[in-house]
Symmetry: C2
Subunit: 304 residues, 2 copies
């Protein structure tokens, strides 16, 4: 396994033409030492999400090849889907996974952003941890107005792109490139059918209404099972650890006399988060991730 | 990383001559795709422990090369140490780590055992999960009498070797080859200086005095910190999971009004055990180890 690993999760505005999506996937895969882990297309959203990892340089190259494949195949003038979008390649998040710091991903976002403008004449906005202004940290703020509105929005000096002239690409719009932490989708199932309980707990734990800083949460029904769920995104598990979130949910549920009956992790979780869970609940003193057998084996393989 | 991974932890009766130990380590390392993770020598025990991993075939070859290196360098007729021993290469445990079942390691132990007799004329006893009789499951039962006593013991039909004639190798004795689960060394620190509390808890949780089946436990003092510790070996974390052991210790400690102030994992822990801890405390439903990001990346690497 490479020593330095960045995850990249670009979203493109094509979720219906399977052949086009396959060409884009192949473009990413064509870069040596880039590993495409997942492709999800949503026809209703008319949008696809690629998940790939690699060393920083290789990831940058894969982003450029994705642009090469996507731009001739997507024309936003004829694009209608449920998901808001402003670019053919709408957003390019870079996530530090291993041997790489957030600052490295911010640096990479800047390099990639500058190059996207240079090569493809698509204006670029830096967002997330790479944002150059507070109001650009939040992707949805940047995206307001979408493709159609950007022809005006881009002329406002407050919304001048970070890279490129204030000229929207006629078919590919504009792109947001940013750095963020790994996102963990974590759901907690509750032993009640009362949706209000899930909604109240979601309100208590999420950032937007006074809860934990890196938690987004919604209350939902699981109708088939006759129970409710607090559905969460943990946007920075290093600073707001998963076990702390669960224990806070558990305490809030206890106020209603409701037990936690189960949880689920949707998609992927980094080994570091598992180590964090073990450290928390086992009360581990001085545990090092190098004590994980597989990590040690990797190190031995790397040194071979 | 290889798909199939066996860990091997041979103990040899040499813990003082650093050069001899280095030659043995090099013999293991010389096998392609074998990864030596650790070497520990104890001069008082006059014994060294090598930890290495690899695919089953490669691990077998490394064991043979270890014998080639060890036999000319160890003469048990002149060996005195604190640790009981019956062979120059005293014991060869094989541990399933990944993509390999216990039955595969039992098979491997038999293959390796037969070959040790054929090549080196050292009689071999199968132990642990590979044992051919109940009394041979426990290594210490086999080792009773040690090297010096084996010249008589081996003539007893009950103690006929599994491989080889009943003739002790004149300088290298006999060897035990077996299969066992990965061993986790797990210590729980208690908020008291009263050693009796640690001893009582150890007695409650360990197999030998009525506790959990795959737990060995001792009460010890941590004098520098003024506290006591329950020091444990978990000999089968799949069947007696680490979180269950900790929670039982915690309950027993509560009887004395004593809190768990911390824990430690000594040495290595497999990723699977971390997943187990997360599943237990997070109450995870349907979690798959394939959801660990690094595992997914490995799979992608393997498929590349």
């Amino acid at each position: 396994m490479p020593r330095k690993l960045v995850e990249c999760v670009p979203n493109v505005s094509e979720g219906r033409d399977k052949e086009a999506v396959a060409v884009m996937a192949e473009a990413i895969r064509s870069v040596p030492n880039v590993f495409l882990l997942d492709v999800q297309s949503d026809p209703d959203h008319h949008r696809s999400v690629f998940t790939f990892v690699g060393e920083p340089e290789a990831v940058a190259e894969a982003v450029f090849r994705l642009f090469e494949a996507a731009l001739p195949r997507i024309d936003l003038r004829h694009h209608r889907g449920e998901h808001p979008r402003m670019g053919a390649v709408d957003v390019v998040p870079l996530v530090p996974v291993r041997g790489v710091k957030m600052a490295d991903c911010v640096e990479l976002a800047k390099k990639v952003g500058a190059e996207i403008w240079r090569r493809f004449h698509v204006p670029v906005y830096l967002y997330g941890e790479a944002a150059t202004r507070p109001e650009r940290a939040d992707l949805s703020e940047i995206r307001k107005g979408e493709f159609e509105g950007f022809f005006e929005k881009i002329k406002d000096p407050q919304w001048a792109p970070d890279f490129g002239d204030p000229v929207v690409h006629p078919t590919a719009g504009v792109t947001a490139v940013g750095a963020r932490e790994f996102l963990i989708a974590f759901n907690v199932n509750l032993g009640t059918s009362d949706l209000r309980v899930a909604k109240e707990i979601a309100k208590a734990v999420r950032f937007s209404s006074g809860g934990l800083r890196y938690v987004k949460a919604l209350g939902m029904e699981l109708k088939e099972r006759g129970i409710v769920q607090v559905s969460m995104n943990l946007t920075n598990f290093r600073k707001t650890p998963l076990p702390r979130v669960l224990e806070l949910v558990r305490r809030e549920a206890a106020r209603f006399g409701v037990p936690v009956v189960g949880t689920e992790i949707v998609g992927l979780i980094p080994e570091e988060a598992l180590v964090q869970v073990a450290e928390y609940y086992l009360q581990l003193e001085k545990f090092s991730p190098a004590q994980v057998l597989e990590r040690r084996i990797e190190e031995a393989l790397g040194g071979a």
